[in-house]
Amino acid sequence: MNNGIEHVRIDERLIHGQVATMWINTLKTSRIMVVDDVVVKSDIEKAALKTAVPEGIHLSILTAQGAIRNILTGKYQGQKVLLITRTTHILKDMFDAGVQLPFINIGNMSAKPGGQQFKKSVFLTPDDLNDLHYLHTKGVKIIAQMVPTEKIQDFADLLK
């Protein structure tokens, strides 16, 4: 039985407005899972996430360890989970801990020092690239698609 993780998205803005709504409508998501070790410590950030979640959609706000534990114990089996995280290394950690990821969608990563631009809303640092290459060689499909109406670019295309 699959672990319930239907879509994995890297988005520095986590859950934001209509982008979230569009994905939820397209994927028929039942739960959004935000995995971030910093957000869990901030009541303000958590309040913003709760406000941004469309009505009727379940929400999990978890540390990487918490997400790994819950997913591996099969807590979300039979659900349709959209997993959102800000960084590549959390996904690498989850993968290394044995979490199966259907694929990774690089949605939104902002400009930062040492970052290189790959598309309008995607800037990757050498560390990000290392993580993604690692996951790619381990067989995790990597794509970039900001909104469902945008054409899917796969990792190889992105690196061109």
């Binding site: 869990v40 406000t51 379940h58 999990s60 918490g66």
Partner: protein, 135 residues
């Protein structure tokens, strides 16, 4: 559907830019700039340029405020182009609703539902010492 959007100053142009930051490029949104140096006749010409550029599909005009010059000038268009409808209340929220495929009627409803004091209302079904929560 094509949307000719217009407001005072750079309003419409910036709405399109903001829209595209959220939903991506949309070639069916045609913004018009209007400033104090322009006469209603100048503005009318800007409208016509866009209308003539759009060869197929219906055109809806959305203005910022009823009774303003962008609106009044748009009303002149309906003499020459009676099929064109004019709506008010141009905003980013409205354009996003339309961009997501809502009809004008439900787009207005969607915008209205967001015009409120934003208070988080939720109940977490579980919370632990790490700050992890689920609902």
């Amino acid at each position: 559907m094509h949307y000719l959007i217009v407001g005072h100053g750079n309003y419409a142009i910036e709405i399109k830019r903001s829209y595209e930051m959220i939903l991506g490029i949309n070639n069916n949104i045609h913004p018009v700039h209007f400033d104090a140096t322009m006469s209603p006749a100048d503005l009318f010409l800007e409208y016509e340029k866009i209308i003539q550029k759009i060869s197929t599909g219906n055109i809806t005009v959305i203005v910022d405020i009823p009774g303003g010059t962008p609106c009044n000038t748009a009303l002149q268009l309906t003499i020459k182009y009676p099929q064109i409808k004019i709506y008010g209340g141009l905003s980013l929220a409205l354009m996003i609703e339309l961009g997501m495929g809502e009809s004008l009627f439900s787009a207005y409803e969607g915008v209205a539902s967001g015009m409120r004091h934003i208070v988080p209302e939720y109940t977490s079904t579980s919370i632990n010492d790490n700050g992890e929560e689920e609902m």
